[in-house]
Subunit: 332 residues, 2 copies
């Protein structure tokens, strides 16, 4: 899985290739995020828009549409729809996680309040819904409605799995499918649908998005124990929040009695002391769970690349493939 | 505006007339509220379903559909959709209002936590969205998408208007259109649409729902100062929460300097002492603002009844008309 020799990140190459479309997406987002009547809405949404973010999901929609020969207005609307759903979930996530920072800036719930985050999130959901009705495809709406339900279900599952050391790798997979992969796969799937792709092509795009999302989230969860300021998180955030991510789940599965007592204390009971994070890392290294997580992420990235094989030969296909490789290349 | 001589409440007569349909709606709600993967979801939703509620909104959809000669599966799905949207907003409202009781029972945010209420609300929104895609009408989806946006916008507006004594009757109208009338009017409108009503009939149903919702909310806001345990609220809840409802807005508009200082202290600054509620009530009585609110509610109820005039002569039309009368008859 060698990276493309090009030193420019695949994400940036996608952004360059889709620059005109993305400009239209950003203009549409700015336009539809506004609210005539409630000034709090543009305040909060402007904060989020200015914070930037990679706009990865709308690019996936646009890339899938272009790769299958689609273009124009509807792909742009769907790309904005996907970003709206994503932004709405971020607003609600920050309330649920009581987060203080997002993309290196204070979160909306901190700058305003939880109430504003909940209600502006609802507003963005409704706006995403209005946007997608404009695409006039019931099949596409069904995909996005389904993705929204899987996302919410995954979030609730994560909530109840939190701090529960009985969480299995299967539950973890279901959680990250909900929190990340469901929207990735809906993003690529509707891109293909709006371009009039065949059922097999749409299926390939869906599989790509699903596998990419899983690889992406596993990598993210691993990096939380690998220490990288670049992603705007601090090492051990998940540990302090007692989140059951794969490196920890596997370490618990492989723990002896004494180690199990440690995990019970720090994760279940939440009694964390100085040096506990270092000890947790030592246990993960002892049982090779960081490597196992990296291997699993690599495996999903490979599946994502394989899913692309049946799709037309096109520079965008190469970039999507490189993107899947890049997501896990961060882990080397 | 004399009430129908029948002593049975119009709501109960509607429920009897639509009993079969409502049974199908309730079965569908139970079925779609479940979640295979996240057990917290059925826990929270069962709590809400058991709490009952009047199911007024789905009955409006069914009554509108039947009145225009529609029947069957799609009207039932839309009725359940409307109730899901309503339930989702209740879950989020209780988080925003930090409510402890709903329909005489502890709220979900109190029994579980705010996180569950936010995420299960999102799940119900997504499920409502799935349900309506099954009705296969883009025009109907556009109406419901638009209503969802107006609801969220109204909630944000209410948030920013809260505790602001500069709130005008116009802002109040916009807030209650969002929080109540938008879903009432969407409920009746889509009922007509699914029954294949003419544009004029759909317009009449929309106007009926809008006016009914406004009358209903004004009556509710007035009853908060009129004292009725029957609606599950305590007299003065809105006062203690420093909500700007019409009786207070009008009293502030008619206040002299001393009265204005009082309102500034209790609403804007939130410095409330023993006897303040009684004094507020005395000021409202002095300026006749309770009567003015009742008159406004009566006026909207009359508009609702007038809107029905162009619709077919049918027992359900009579019940809808009586319902509008009943909403304000509580105020006599």
């Amino acid at each position: 899985m060698a990276l493309d020799s090009d030193a420019v990140k695949p994400h940036d190459r996608l952004a360059a290739a889709l620059a005109d479309d993305m400009e239209a997406v950003n203009a549409l987002i700015r336009d539809r995020m506004a609210s005539e009547h409630a000034p709090r809405i543009p305040e909060v949404t402007a904060h989020l828009v200015e914070a930037g973010g990679k706009r990865l999901r709308p690019m996936l929609t646009l890339a899938a549409a272009r790769l299958l020969g689609g273009d124009g207005d509807k792909a742009v609307k769907l790309a904005a729809t996907v970003e709206f759903i994503h932004t709405a979930t971020l607003l609600h996530d920050d309330v649920v996680d009581e987060s203080k920072k997002r993309r290196g800036r204070p979160t909306a719930n901190l700058l305003w309040d939880n109430k504003s985050s909940v209600l502006v999130g609802d507003y963005l959901f409704a706006r995403s819904f209005q946007l997608m009705t404009e695409c006039e495809s019931l099949a596409i709406m069904a995909v996005l409605a389904n993705a929204s339900a899987v996302i919410a279900e995954g979030e609730v599952l994560q909530l109840t799995a939190a701090q529960n050391i009985a969480t299995t790798p299967e539950i973890y997979l279901q959680v990250i499918r909900g929190k990340t992969a469901a929207l990735f796969s809906a993003a690529t799937e509707v891109g293909g649908m709006v371009a009039g792709a065949t059922e097999a092509q749409v299926g390939a795009l869906r599989s790509y998005g699903d596998a990419l999302g899983i690889a992406f989230q596993m990598a993210d969860d691993l990096l939380d124990y690998g220490g990288s300021e670049a992603i705007g998180k601090n090492t051990g955030d998940d540990f302090r929040e007692r989140k059951l991510t794969l490196p920890v789940i596997l370490a618990i599965a492989r723990a002896d009695a004494e180690e199990r007592a440690f995990w019970l204390r720090v994760i279940d009971k939440g009694d964390q002391r100085d040096g506990d994070l270092d000890h947790a890392l030592a246990l993960m290294r002892r049982h090779g769970t960081l490597e196992a997580t990296r291997d699993a992420a690599n495996d999903w990235a490979a599946r994502a690349r394989m899913a692309l094989e049946g799709l037309p030969d096109h520079p965008l296909r190469g970039m999507l493939s490189d993107l899947a490789a890049y997501v896990v290349a961060r882990l080397v």
